[in-house]
C-alpha cells in the first residue's frame, strides 16, 4: 500500500470527474422547475388573480331551466353551483348540472367547423372555415328559396325557449314553408295534451309539492327525471320536514320502483298501462263516498259509473281495500295533490290516464290552491307562437318525406334522433336520402356523424341566451344566460350561427343585430319596457346589469291562479281505453319498462365521465346497462345477477346482464335509457345498450307521441356471465341488522299497510 501507480491515478481522476459531473446534473435535475408569471397585457375589469369571480347563468343540461352560479378563476370555470336567487332550484343543483364543466372541458368537443370528405357516416371530416361553412349552407338555402322550394328545408332542434326560439321563428319566416321541429325523447307530450284537454291550459302547471300534505303520484318520478327534479326535491323535503306538526305523505303508483317510489311512504304496483283505471277508481270513490259536493256531481257520477273499487281491482291488480283507503286519504288529507307522468303517460292510453289524474285533483278541490295544481302565467318573452314539439308521428313524417326525396336540406341542432328514436323508425336510413345535412352540435354524436357539414356551437357556458323555465314556478320568471368563460375553441353560439345564416341569406335588414348578445339586449329592452319598473331605477342598462348579476328576473313572487270550471263534455269524455301492447303475451311475456337514467337522462350525459361513474340510485350499478328482473321471475327462468340475456322485442334485440331487483312486478322488466352509444366520444361509445332501439312504433293516438312503455319483450339466456359493476357486493344483511325487517304476519295481517315483496300480482 501507499503507492499509486499511473493507471490507478488516471482511474481516480476519471472517477472524481464523472462523479462531480453526475452530482452537478443530479442537483440540477431535482431543482424546482422554472415557472413563469404571465401578466395580462390589459386586465379585464374587476379582475384579481386568485380571487374567484362568480357568474350567474342558466343550466342547459335538462329542460328544467335551473339557475346556476359558476365559479371562475383567471377566466376558467372551476365549479358550478345552484343560484340561490333562482326560484326553480333555490341554490341546489343536480349531479348532471354539476357535470356541466365536463361538457365545457370535454376532450371530445368539436373544435371548429368540419366538412365530410369520404362516404357519409364513415368519411373523415376535415377542418374548414366558418365563412365557408355558412356561405355554403346559405347558398343552398338561397337556391331552394329562389326556386320556391324552401319547403324542402327542415330545421330539427332540441327543445328551445326564450329568445333563441324567437330567433329561430324569425329565420323560418325567411324560408316560407320550411319546417321547424323540436324533438326531445323525454318531452311530456301526453301531460301537455291532458292538461290542454282538461284545463284548457297549454302549458305545464305548477305542482305545489311543498305545501301538499298528501301526494299521489302515478308514474311520475318527480325526484328522478320528471320535469323539474331539483325543484320537486326541494318541495318534497319541505313537505316532509319543513313544517312543524305536519309531514307530507307520498304514495307512488308504478310497476317498477323509482327513486320517488323508494322515497315514498307507500309504493303500489299496478299492472302497466292500468294506472289510469286506478285513478278513475279513486275518483269514483271520491264522488260516490268521499262527499264531492260540486254542481257537476251528477255528471261525474255518470262518467265514473262502473269504475267501482272491485272492478278496478280486477283491472289493475291493486286490492279494492287499498283503492278505498287511497281515496279516503286523498280526500281526507288536504291539501292533496295527484301527479301523473313518466311511464303512465307512455302507454297508448297516456292522455286518458293523465286526464283521469287531473280529474282526481279537480274532484279533491286541489286545483288553484296552495298545495295543489296552480297555473303558470305565459312566459314574458320568447316566440310568439308556442312551438309544438315534434312527436314521434311528426318525426316519422319527416323520415317519410326524406325517403321520398322531399327534404333537401336538414339542419340538426343538439338533438340526436338517430339515438333517441327506435330502430323501427328507420331514421338513420331516411337521413341517407337527404342530400345535405348540417349539424350544429358540439359533439360528434350519432346524428352528427351522418352530417355533411358540422358547424359546432358553443357550450352553454360560453353562450348568450335566456330562458323562462317550463314548468314554471307559478309566477313570471326569466333568466339570462351569459357566457362565463371566453370560448375555448373556434366555435360559435347558436344565436350567432342563425344570425350569420340570416345575413348570408340577404335578410340583413330584418336581422339588424350584430350578434346574439345584441339581439338578446334588444329583446330584454322590450321586457324592461313592459315591466312595471320605476324610471328612477336607472334605465335599461342598470336593469340589464342587475338581471345579469342576480341571474334571474321575476315580476312578483305570489302564486295565484283560479280554478277553471271543467266543461261538461270534458267530464263526459273522461275514461281510459285499455292499453295496447306491441307483441303477444305468449311470445313476449314481459312488458319492457324503459326509464330515464338519473345520470345520463336520454343519453345526453353519457359522454361525461362523472355521470358514467355515478351509480344508479336504485341498483347502484354504473358503467353499463342492465335489465331488472323480479326475483321470482329470475328464479323461474333460472337466472342470476350477471347472467347475460338477449332482450328481444319484435323490432330488435340487445344483450345485457340481469340485475335481480325485488321492487319490480314479476311480468315487467326494466332498463335504463342512456347507454349504448355508437359515437358521442370516448366515454359514451361502446358501453351498454340502448333500450330505445327495441321499442315498437306504437303511438299514443291523441299526441302521436311514442308509447315508450308499451313494448313486450322476451328474455333469451345466452349462457354468458359478466360481473356487474356496482357498489356493495352483497344485497343481504348477513345478520348485521342494518335495516329492521318485519315478519309476514305484520305484512299480511289485518290493518297491515306494508307492501309485501316480492309482489304477488296475477299476470295479465
Amino acid at each position: 500500500m501507499g503507492t499509486i501507480d499511473r493507471r490507478d491515478f488516471l482511474k481516480l481522476v476519471g472517477a472524481g470527474g464523472v462523479g462531480a459531473a453526475a452530482g452537478f446534473v443530479l442537483a440540477e435535475a431535482i431543482k424546482h422547475p422554472v415557472e413563469h408569471l404571465i401578466p395580462y397585457p390589459v386586465p379585464p375589469e374587476e379582475f384579481s388573480p386568485g380571487v374567484a369571480a362568480w357568474y350567474n347563468t342558466v343550466c342547459s343540461m335538462c329542460p328544467a331551466g335551473c339557475g346556476i352560479s359558476v365559479r371562475t378563476l383567471e377566466g376558467r370555470a372551476k365549479k358550478i353551483e345552484g343560484n340561490p336567487s333562482h326560484p326553480v332550484n333555490q341554490g341546489r343543483l343536480c349531479a348532471l348540472g354539476q357535470a356541466g364543466l365536463q361538457v365545457l372541458y370535454n376532450p371530445d368537443r368539436l373544435t371548429g367547423p368540419l366538412m365530410r370528405t369520404g362516404a357519409r357516416g364513415a368519411g373523415p371530416f376535415v377542418q374548414t372555415t366558418w365563412d365557408d361553412g355558412i356561405a355554403e349552407l346559405a347558398g343552398r338555402l338561397n337556391e331552394l328559396r329562389a326556386d320556391g322550394r324552401s319547403d324542402r328545408v327542415s330545421f330539427l332542434t332540441a327543445g328551445v325557449r326564450g329568445h333563441l326560439a324567437a330567433l329561430l321563428e324569425l329565420l323560418m319566416a325567411e324560408l316560407p314553408g320550411a319546417r321547424l321541429l323540436q324533438y326531445d325523447f323525454d318531452h311530456p307530450h301526453t301531460l301537455l295534451a291532458a292538461n290542454e284537454r282538461f284545463f284548457g291550459a297549454g302549458s305545464l302547471p305548477y305542482y305545489d309539492l311543498e305545501n301538499a300534505r298528501y301526494v299521489l303520484s302515478f308514474g311520475a318520478d318527480y325526484l328522478g327525471g320528471w320535469l323539474s327534479p331539483v325543484h320537486h326535491a326541494l318541495g318534497f323535503g319541505r313537505s316532509r320536514q319543513g313544517r312543524s306538526g305536519a309531514r307530507g305523505r307520498f304514495v307512488q303508483v308504478e310497476p317498477r320502483m323509482s327513486l320517488s317510489g323508494a322515497a315514498a311512504d307507500e309504493w303500489i304496483p299496478a299492472r302497466p298501462g292500468t294506472e289510469g283505471f286506478l285513478a278513475l277508481g279513486i275518483a269514483r270513490q271520491l264522488v260516490a263516498e268521499g262527499g264531492y259536493e260540486g254542481a257537476d256531481r251528477d255528471a261525474w257520477a255518470a262518467a265514473l259509473d262502473g269504475h267501482t273499487a272491485d272492478a278496478v281491482a280486477a283491472q289493475t291488480g291493486v286490492p279494492a281495500a287499498t283503492i278505498r283507503r287511497l281515496a279516503g286519504d286523498f280526500a281526507g288529507t288536504r291539501p292533496s295533490l295527484a301527479l301523473g307522468g313518466g311511464a303512465t303517460g307512455g302507454h297508448t292510453n297516456g292522455v286518458d290516464a293523465l286526464v283521469a289524474v287531473n280529474a282526481l285533483n279537480y274532484l279533491a278541490g286541489n286545483v288553484g290552491r296552495p298545495g295543489g295544481v296552480l297555473f303558470n302565467p305565459p312566459p314574458a318573452f320568447g316566440p310568439r307562437a308556442r312551438a309544438a314539439h315534434a312527436s314521434y308521428r311528426d318525426m316519422l313524417a319527416l323520415a317519410e318525406d326524406a325517403r321520398r326525396g322531399r327534404i333537401e336540406i336538414l339542419v340538426v341542432s343538439d338533438t340526436n334522433p338517430v339515438f333517441t328514436l327506435p330502430a323501427a323508425a328507420g331514421f338513420a336510413e331516411a337521413l341517407a336520402a337527404i342530400p345535405y345535412i348540417v349539424s350544429l352540435s358540439s359533439f360528434m354524436d350519432e346524428t352528427t356523424g351522418l352530417a355533411d357539414r358540422v358547424l359546432p356551437s358553443h357550450t352553454y357556458l360560453e353562450s348568450w341566451g335566456d330562458d323562462s323555465p317550463e314548468p314554471g314556478v307559478g309566477f313570471t320568471v326569466g333568466a339570462i344566460a351569459q357566457p362565463v368563460v371566453a370560448p375555448l375553441y373556434d366555435t360559435r353560439s347558436k344565436g350567432d350561427i342563425l344570425l350569420g345564416i340570416a345575413r348570408a341569406l340577404g335578410a340583413g335588414e330584418d336581422f339588424p343585430w350584430a350578434n346574439m348578445e345584441d339581439y338578446l339586449k334588444a329583446g330584454w329592452r322590450e321586457v324592461y319596457g313592459r315591466a312595471p319598473i320605476p324610471a328612477e331605477a336607472g334605465g335599461f342598462e342598470a336593469f340589464w346589469i342587475s338581471v345579469l348579476r342576480a341571474g334571474v328576473w321575476g315580476e312578483n313572487g305570489r302564486r295565484e291562479s283560479g280554478s277553471p270550471a271543467v266543461e261538461a263534455r270534458v267530464i263526459d269524455a273522461v275514461g281510459v281505453a285499455p292499453p295496447e301492447f306491441a307483441g303477444s303475451s305468449d311470445e313476449f311475456p314481459f312488458v319492457l319498462h324503459p326509464y330515464l337514467s338519473h345520470a345520463l337522462r336520454d343519453g345526453r350525459g353519457a359522454n361525461l365521465p362523472w355521470m358514467q361513474e355515478l351509480p344508479d340510485p336504485m341498483t347502484s350499478v354504473w358503467y353499463g346497462s342492465w335489465v331488472e328482473l323480479n326475483p321470482a321471475t329470475a328464479e323461474r327462468l333460472g337466472l342470476r345477477e350477471g347472467d347475460v340475456v338477449d332482450v328481444e322485442s319484435a323490432h330488435g334485440k340487445i344483450g345485457v346482464p340481469v340485475y335481480v331487483f325485488p321492487a319490480i312486478m314479476p311480468d315487467v322488466v326494466a332498463m335504463p335509457i342512456g347507454q349504448g352509444h355508437a359515437g358521442y366520444g370516448r366515454y359514451a361509445s361502446r358501453r351498454g345498450a340502448n333500450p330505445i332501439q327495441l321499442l315498437a312504433p306504437l303511438t299514443e293516438p291523441v299526441t302521436g307521441g311514442l308509447a315508450s312503455s308499451a313494448t313486450r319483450v322476451r328474455l333469451v339466456p345466452t349462457g354468458r356471465r359478466v360481473s356487474l359493476v356496482k357498489q356493495g357486493g352483497e344485497s343481504r344483511q348477513l345478520g348485521r341488522g342494518i335495516v329492521r325487517t318485519t315478519g309476514a304476519a305484520a305484512v299480511t295481517g289485518p290493518g297491515a299497510r306494508l307492501a309485501s315483496i316480492p309482489i304477488k300480482v296475477e299476470s295479465t
Binding site: M1, D8, K11, L12, A15, G16, G17, V18, G19, A20, A21, A22, G23, F24, V25, L26, A27, E28, K31, H32, V34, E35, H36, L37, I38, P39, Y40, P41, V42, P43, S48, P49, G50, V51
Partner: protein, 196 residues
C-alpha cells in the same frame, strides 16, 4: 466442549490453525473501493458546487427590471404595482398596462422601456420568471399576511436594494413555523393552515 468456544478460539491472532482474514479481500478490492470513494466524493462536490454557485435563486428575467430603481430610489410602494397582494392569495405581477401607466411618459427613450412598450403594443404578456415559488401543496395567502402588516421584506428580503431579484428566504416549512410561532398565530402550527 461448547462448540461456540472452539469457534472463537480459532479466530485468535496467535492461533496457527487456518482462520478467516479480510485482509486479502481488501487487498483485491482496494483499487475499486478507492475509485468508488473518490467517485462518490465527486458526486457530493458536484452537487455542492451546483447548489452553491448555481442556486437558481437569481433567475434572469426577460426584461432587466430593477427593483432598486423603482422601490429603492423612487420609493414606489410594493403594493402600487403588486396591488392584488392585499386582495388575493396571489400577489401577482402588474399588468403590462400598469407599467405603461407611468412609462408612457417616463423614460420613454430607454431601450428596456421601449421593449416594454413593444410588448404592450403587441398585446403580449411579459413572461416574467418566478423567483419565489412554493410547492403546489402549500397554501400561502398574501392577503392575510399583508393585512397582518407583515412587511414584504420579511420573506422577500430587501428587494428595494436588488437590481435583479434574488431569493434569500429558504421557503421551507421551518421558516413558516418559526414566524408563526414568533407572532403567536392562532392555529399557526396546524398542518391545514398551510398545507392544502
Amino acid at each position: 466442549m461448547e462448540p461456540g468456544r472452539s469457534g472463537r478460539q480459532s479466530g485468535n491472532p496467535g492461533d496457527d490453525r487456518t482462520g478467516v482474514s479480510i485482509v486479502p479481500a481488501l487487498r483485491i478490492l482496494r483499487p475499486p473501493a478507492l475509485v468508488l470513494g473518490v467517485g462518490l466524493a465527486g458526486v457530493a462536490f458536484g452537487y455542492w458546487a451546483n447548489t452553491t454557485y448555481f442556486p437558481g435563486t437569481t433567475p434572469e428575467q426577460p426584461i432587466e427590471f430593477s427593483h432598486r430603481i423603482h422601490a429603492g430610489d423612487n420609493q414606489i410602494p410594493c403594493l402600487y404595482c403588486h396591488s392584488q397582494a392585499r386582495r388575493s392569495a396571489i400577489a401577482g405581477v402588474p399588468s403590462v398596462n400598469r407599467c405603461m401607466g407611468c412609462h408612457e411618459k417616463v423614460a420613454t427613450d430607454r431601450p428596456l422601456i421601449r421593449e416594454v412598450a413593444r410588448y404592450f403594443a403587441d398585446k403580449e404578456p411579459i413572461p416574467w420568471v418566478k423567483v419565489h415559488d412554493l410547492p403546489d401543496f402549500v397554501h400561502f395567502p398574501h392577503k392575510r399576511h399583508v393585512l397582518a402588516d407583515i412587511a414584504c421584506q420579511t420573506c422577500h428580503g430587501p428587494v428595494e436594494t436588488m437590481d435583479r431579484v434574488t431569493r434569500l428566504a429558504p421557503t421551507k416549512m421551518g421558516q413558516c413555523r418559526a414566524c408563526h410561532e414568533e407572532h403567536a398565530v392562532v392555529n399557526g402550527q396546524d398542518c391545514w393552515t398551510c398545507h392544502k
